[in-house]
Symmetry: C2
Subunit: 198 residues, 2 copies
């Protein structure tokens, strides 16, 4: 689609560059902006600038935060003996929403992926190693169950072993509500291997 | 999903308010903004402000424009004897992309829809009537083939009839590449009624 006047074309291009937004969605979003009041448009633009300006990485756990250290790292009720290692900030939110885990986090901001040219020094492993003090009893590695996630988990566990800290991996198995019949072979194998007495 | 820090939650809320953007897409877009460089984020915010500031309605045809009158209304090669009436600015772009129509446009910015409380005075019909001078030979009504679009077409054609101008309606029928077998009954009926000698 072309024929848009320049300021509109520019806005559509900006929206279309976002993940999961095609040109048609971008056009709908741009027309929505044109229908906004001036103050609504300013609020949207302000939210973008604001988020960029206020959100930083926590100097302890590398999670996204607007205070440093972040609210989790400074939380009075958090269990400081456990650190859960995740790939990105969205994983922290997913785990927080379970309302079960009360320990600390460490956000790697990626996984080791030689195919994409991402080595161990490109993610926040060094920062994790610095955090392993006598206070820490256990490190739970909660990277995704993908090839890169598994490799990263293996790599980190090897680095942590000499530091005499317990290293665990989140369980792999059938998702709740899932169906044995439709599960893939690897998941089923993992579910069998990880079986526990009831 | 909750647990986001306030500036991030605000940005997600802003994105999620857009048409066709769910909360998950909004979160992905917000994280994309955080990964942008400062100048990229400023460019995105600027495009929003800019579009709102620069884009106005053309005082002649009511289309979106950054000049007044718009480029189509002032175009030297446009046929000023034909006005095509459409529901919104996107319809103008769709018709312009055919590269066939060379006349002028009139954008109603909506259709008459009593169910939604939209009457004839809420859309740009008055502005259309003012444009019907001796120069204009034909008005093509190209509102959508929906109940509201048809009703609006009927309403406008009744108003225009006393002004001794030819009023036409775009053809309804099978879309090109469509399949008779899968066409709905109304479309088929319209296609039969609108048959032409070949």
């Amino acid at each position: 689609m072309n024929g848009y006047i320049p300021p509109l074309a520019r806005l559509i291009d900006e929206f279309a560059a976002m993940p999961g937004v095609g040109r048609r969605s971008a056009a709908r979003m741009a027309f929505y902006v044109l229908k906004m009041t001036d103050s609504q448009a300013n609020s949207l633009a302000g939210a973008i600038i604001d988020a960029k300006k206020k959100i930083k990485y926590c100097s302890v756990c590398c999670n996204l935060t607007d205070t440093d250290p972040c609210a989790i790292c400074t939380g009075a009720r958090r269990d400081r003996s456990v650190i859960c290692v995740v790939e990105n900030a969205r994983d922290v939110i997913a785990l927080e929403n379970t309302n079960e885990y009360k320990g600390l986090y460490h956000v790697l901001h990626g996984v080791i992926s030689p195919m994409d040219g991402i080595g161990p020094e490109d993610i926040r492993i060094r920062e994790l190693l610095k955090r392993i003090t006598d206070e820490v009893d256990e490190v739970i590695i909660a990277t995704n169950p993908t090839i890169e996630g598994e490799a990263t988990a293996m790599y980190i566990s090897k680095l942590l072993r000499p530091l005499s800290v317990k290293v665990t991996r989140i369980a792999h198995g059938l998702p709740m509500g899932g169906d044995l019949e439709y599960a893939d072979e690897v998941t089923l194998t993992k579910a069998m291997e990880g079986r526990q007495e009831i």
